[in-house]
Amino acid sequence: MESIIAQLIDGLARGSLYALIVVGLTLLLLVRGVVHFGFPYIVVMTAYLGWMVLGLTNNNLLISLPAFVIIGIILTVATEPLFRPLAQKRAFLETLVLGQGIAIIFTDIWSHFFLHGQLVAFPSNIAAGGGRIRFGMIYFTLADIYALVGGLIAVGILLYFLYRSKQGRAIRAMAQDLDIARSLGIPFNKTGLVGFGVAGALAGIVAIAIAMILEAINPGIGDALAVKALVLMLFAGMGNLMGGLVCALMLGVVEAMAQALMPGRWTEAITFGVIMLVILVRPNGVFGSRA
C-alpha cells in the first residue's frame, strides 16, 4: 500500500510535467493555430542551457532558476516569426513539418556538438529538488512535491491569464475566428508574441521540473516528451486545455503504476495500449466534442 502511494505521488509529479508541456502546446495552438512540435525540444534546449548557467554560477539557484525561465521565453519567442507566414494562411499540417524540423535540428545540435550526446546530470541542490523524504515506507523526493505544486500554480496562473486578462481574451478570439479578431483590431503579431512568450515561460518551468524529477538529460528526451505530448493532445481532444491537463496527470499515474506493478520495460507498451483502445472508442479524444 505504501509503495502504491509513493508511486502515485511520483506519477502525479511526472504527470504535471507532461501537463505543463501539453498546456504550452495548447496555448501555441490557440494563439497561432499551429502544432509546435518543436516545443518539447525547446524545453530540452532550455534544460541544457540552464545546466550551463548552473555550472557558470557555481550552482546558484537564485540566478539559475530565473535564467531557465528567461531562456525558455527567448527560445520560444525566437521561433514565432518562423510560424507567422504559415499561421496567416492557416496552413495547419505544414506547421507540423516546420516544428519537426526545429525538433531534429535541436536534437542534432546536442547530439553532435555537446559531449557527444552523453547524459548530463544536474547538481544535487536542484536534482530531486534538493532532498528526499521518508514517511515509514513511503519514500519520495522533494522534487515530486515541487513539480506538483509548482505545476498547479503555473496552470492556475495560465488559466487566469487566458480567461481574465485582455491579452488572454485576444488570444482566444484569434483562436476562434482569426478574420473577425483582425477586424476588431486585435494585433496579429503582438498577440502572437505574447502567446509565445507565455508558452516560453512554461518551457522554462518545465525545464526546471525536468532537472528536478529526471535529474539528468540527454538529447533523446525531447523525442519521448514530444511523442507523449502530441498523443496527449489528440487523446484529450485538440485544443482542449482542461482535457489535456487531466489526461496528462492520468498518463503520469498510469506510467508510474505500470512501472510498479509490471515487470521491467513494459511501461510504455501498456500505456500506449490503453491510449490506443480509448482512441478507437472515442476518435475525437476523451474530452473532444462529437461534432
Binding site: 481574451r169 482566444r172 478570439a173 476562434q176 473577425i180 483582425r182 477586424s183 483590431g185 494585433p187
Partner: protein, 240 residues
Amino acid sequence: MAKRNNVLTVQNLAVAYGHIQAIKKVDLQVNQGELIVLLGSNGAGKSTLLHALLGKVRPSRGRIIFMGQDITQWPTENIVAAGISIVPEGRGILSLMSVMENLQLGAYHVKHDITENLHRVFKLFPLLEERKKQQAGTLSGGEQQMLALSRALMSSPKLLLMDEPSLGLGPIIVNELYAVIADLHNKGQTILLTEQNARKALKYADRGYVFDLGTSVLSGTGPELSSNPGVRKAYLGGGD
C-alpha cells in the same frame, strides 16, 4: 449651414485579389455625422471597399484619408485604434465567448475604463445586459446583430462601418435595426453602410453611392437616388 468636417475621403482607389480586380476605381467622401449607403449588386466591390478601409486588403492604387491622415498603408490595428470600427457581414460574433467578452473585445484599443462604454450600449440594448454572461452563440440572429453593433460601438468610433446589416434578418428585426441606426445617426454618429436592401437604406441615408463592377458610378442624396430611373430599375424592383 457650415460645411461639415470631412471624416473619410477615398480617392481613385483600386483593389485586386490576385488577378481579379475587385475595385477598379472608387471615389467617395463621408462627412461628420453623415449616414452614407453604398448600393450595388453582389460582387460590385462594396465589401471589398470596407475591407480596404480597415486595412485588411491593400489597395493597388489610390488613397484613403481618414480624419486628415493618409491611412492607406496602415495596419488594421492602428486603423481601429484611430477610430474606425465595423459590424461585419454575417455579424461575426465570437460565438463561444460570452456577450460581455465580445463587448470587451470591441473595446480592445480603449485605454480608459470601459464602464461608461458598457453603460451606453446596455442603455441602447437592455437585453444584452441581462444576457451579458450568456454564450454569444446562443443569442438569436437579431440579438447577435445587436451584439455586433454594440461591440462596434464599444470603441466610440469616429466612423462606423456596417456590412450588409439586414442580411439574413426578418423584416421586423430589420425595422428595429434601422430604428437604432437612425437613432445613432440623429445623435451624430458617422456611419457608412453597404446594403442590398436599397429601399430601406435610402429612406434613412443622407447620401448614397451606387457601385457597379468595382466602380462608384453614381452618387446623390437619398431622394435623388430613389427617384433615379436606373437605380429604381436595378435596386428598387422596377418602375413602381
